[in-house]
């Protein structure tokens, strides 16, 4: 009797729990659907662009098919060459040869001309073999390189952009090799992005730790108004803050003016449109993201612990190093990870206060998308940036906890 009542109650509880869960899921559904459509799908589409290789298959479908199954080095057998040559001619007639030319030019600069001029001048039927006809138009057709390039362009997807994003390429045997040193630029950009982000994180920590420490040691009615000073830059437009730094740091700017008048400088120094400007402005913009997590962790550290250490004979420094510092580490980890992650993706600030040598990876993503329409390259660089960010995001979730993520 009693057991059946208990079982009944348990069932009722479980039903209520299920109903509550279901209701919760229904409420979370609209945002989930919205983000899947307008956030996740666009990013997946962007990732697909990084390996997109549709040009040859679209303009010359039969060639793409036979090139895919062809193995070996050097010009392929005559039947394959015949299909490629006649389809190239057809593509020219249909005005699609430019698509192929553009794709091949990504393999090697100069192949655009090779493809376009060949396509324009190809006869309807071969003089001798098709290969001889092609070589007569341009001797490059007798070399293995262009055929290996065509075969790579014929694959269903390509790694050319992703490899290029880390200064790698494939040779005529399809082996992965380094690009020639004069063309290797992307690793530099990647290293520079991480370096600038690391420095900015370090500066934020150096400026932010003592500030958070002071705020946490004050009574709340003092700490709150001061915290507002930290939050003000945070609510101010990024563009306003960046403009302010240009005004302050430029050659005829306020800082140079002041230093000249104070006799500390003989002539104005370049403080902006270079690395200094980028570091100063980014540190300013990101400092609140360091102070807030530090502050919220430090607020929770009981003063009695350090007092105990002091009363047991610790010097102030060792009480800080052995008790307070370890306890504040979660805040340090949260602040540093957050600042570093946000810094990695910065575009506007370096674009406005940096020079050509201070642009970070985001700048090149924008450059390839908007200026040169090299979408594959843009998507590949964005993929690298996304991978780095997600890795750090995962680390943040593991170390700090995702529920503590807030920007304000």
């Amino acid at each position: 009797m009693a057991t059946t009542a208990v079982a009944e109650l348990r069932r009722a509880l479980r039903r209520a729990e299920r109903r509550k869960n279901l209701g919760g899921l229904v409420l979370a559904l609209p945002l989930t659907a919205f983000l899947v459509v307008f956030f996740l799908l666009p990013i997946l589409g962007m990732l697909a662009k990084a390996v997109d290789n549709h040009e040859l298959a679209t303009a010359m479908p039969r060639s793409a098919e036979v090139l895919r199954s062809w193995r070996g080095l050097g010009p392929p057998p005559e039947p394959v060459v015949a299909i490629v040559a006649s389809e190239l001619r057809e593509a020219h007639v249909r005005r699609q040869s430019a698509l192929v030319a553009q794709r091949l030019n990504r393999e090697q600069a100069g192949w655009r001309n090779l493809i376009l001029s060949t396509a324009r001048r190809l006869p309807e039927s071969p003089q001798g073999s098709w290969l001889e006809t092609l070589v007569a138009l341009d001797p490059q057709w007798g070399e293995p390189a262009i055929w290996a390039g065509l075969r790579r362009a014929a694959q269903p997807w390509t790694d050319i952009f992703l490899l290029a994003a880390v200064d790698l390429q494939r040779d005529d045997h399809d082996a992965i090799v380094r690009v020639p040193p004069d063309q290797a630029i992307y690793l530099d950009i990647l290293v520079r992005t991480f370096w600038i982000s690391g420095l900015v994180t370090l500066f934020c920590l150096i400026l932010g730790y003592p500030l958070a420490y002071l705020l946490a040691s004050l009574p709340e009615r003092w700490a709150n108004p001061l915290l507002i000073l930290v939050l003000l830059p945070f609510w101010t437009s990024l563009l306003v803050r960046t403009a302010a730094w240009i005004v302050l740091l430029q050659r005829e700017g306020v800082v140079n003016d002041f230093l000249l008048r104070a006799g500390l400088l003989a002539e104005p120094v370049a403080l902006v449109f270079n690395r200094t400007g980028v570091l100063v402005a980014m540190t300013h913009v990101l400092l609140p993201f360091m102070v807030l997590p530090l502050y919220s962790v430090m607020r929770g550290i009981p003063l009695s612990l350090t007092r105990a250490a002091l009363s047991l004979g610790a010097t102030p420094f060792s009480a800080f190093r052995k008790v307070y510092l370890p306890l504040s580490m979660p805040g340090v980890a949260a602040g540093c990870l957050l600042v570093f992650i946000l810094a990695l993706g910065y575009y506007i600030t370096p674009a406005l206060v940096g020079g050509a040598a201070d642009q970070m990876i985001s700048y090149f993503v924008a450059f390839f998308t908007l200026q040169t329409a090299n979408w594959g390259m843009a998507a590949a660089l964005a993929t690298l940036l996304l991978l780095a960010t997600l890795l750090l995001y995962w680390l943040y979730a593991r170390l700090v906890g995702i529920e503590r993520l807030r920007l304000g």
Partner: protein, 269 residues
């Protein structure tokens, strides 16, 4: 403990005053310059005038871009606030496998670099006819703003005593009435400050705007960006000063809301 002696305390304060100056002064340096009678960004000012503010009013481009920004901001805020609040309430009630992953997805727009959101939208929105329209930009901004709402509303919901809602229902209130009369007033400060965040995130956003807007949809930040890139004039600084004033106003509202929320939850007198 460090900074406990007089000397330590004084040097800590001095250091922190410098950091505060670094944080706040740059923002206020532009204010006097925007009232300059001259065209150069120098101190001392040749005289005070409102001529640059008159330019702001006269030049149609500022009016047009402000209007575009307000429209985009309003749509984005409504979308982000509605979706974010619902999701926060849902996640507070439900426990299910993969909840952590769903949270990670919902917060990801705060973390994923804006440039990635921007080129994703650039490729994806075109076939949907969402480029070159204020709607496309507003939707992208809602994506960026929703996590802020989710976070602020979740924080207030976390402090909500569930027995209050149960008491209301026990006294005969329907779930809707209990929500409207009990839950909503308590989480309202969180909803409003989330909405403020979402609005500011949109109103200040320039990267996605660079990718998704044509000349007709130019927003205020986009206009500022081009102005700063060409040459900073006192006119740009006048616009910037207006934005700083707006930031101060929003900050005050957000702070008042935070206090109200703390009071309602019984955390402060």
């Amino acid at each position: 403990m460090l900074g406990s002696g007089i000397l330590g305390r004084t040097s800590l304060w001095l250091y922190c005053l410098l950091v505060f100056a670094f944080l706040v002064l740059p923002i206020f340096v532009i204010v006097p310059l925007s009232f300059s009678a001259g065209a150069f960004l120098h101190f001392p000012l040749p005289g005070l005038s409102l001529r640059w503010y008159e330019r702001l009013v006269e030049h149609e481009i500022w009016r047009v871009t402000l209007k575009n920004s307000l429209i985009v901001g309003a749509i984005a805020t409504v979308l982000a606030t509605g979706l974010g609040t619902l999701a926060a309430m849902g996640l507070a009630r439900a426990r299910f496998p993969g909840k952590g992953l769903l949270m990670a997805l919902m917060l990801a727009p705060m973390i994923v670099p804006v440039i990635i959101v921007a080129i994703g939208a650039y490729f994806f929105y075109r076939p949907l006819g969402l480029t070159g329209s204020l709607w496309g930009l507003a939707i992208a901004h809602a994506v960026l703003g929703a996590p802020f709402v989710l976070v602020t509303v979740s924080a207030t919901l976390g402090a909500l005593d569930p027995s209050l809602v149960r008491a209301a229902q026990g006294l005969g209130a329907s779930p809707w009435v209990a929500f409207r009369k009990v839950t909503l007033p308590i989480i309202a400060p969180g909803v409003v400050s989330g909405a403020l965040f979402a609005f500011v995130a949109s109103f200040d956003e320039v990267v996605v705007a660079l990718f998704l807007t044509g000349p007709a949809q130019r927003t205020l930040p986009r206009q500022m960006f081009d102005g700063i890139r060409e040459e900073i004039s006192p006119e740009i600084l006048a616009a910037a000063t207006v934005l700083v004033a707006l930031a101060v106003a929003l900050l005050v509202v957000a702070e008042l809301l935070r206090r109200r929320s703390a009071r309602l939850r019984g955390l402060a007198p």
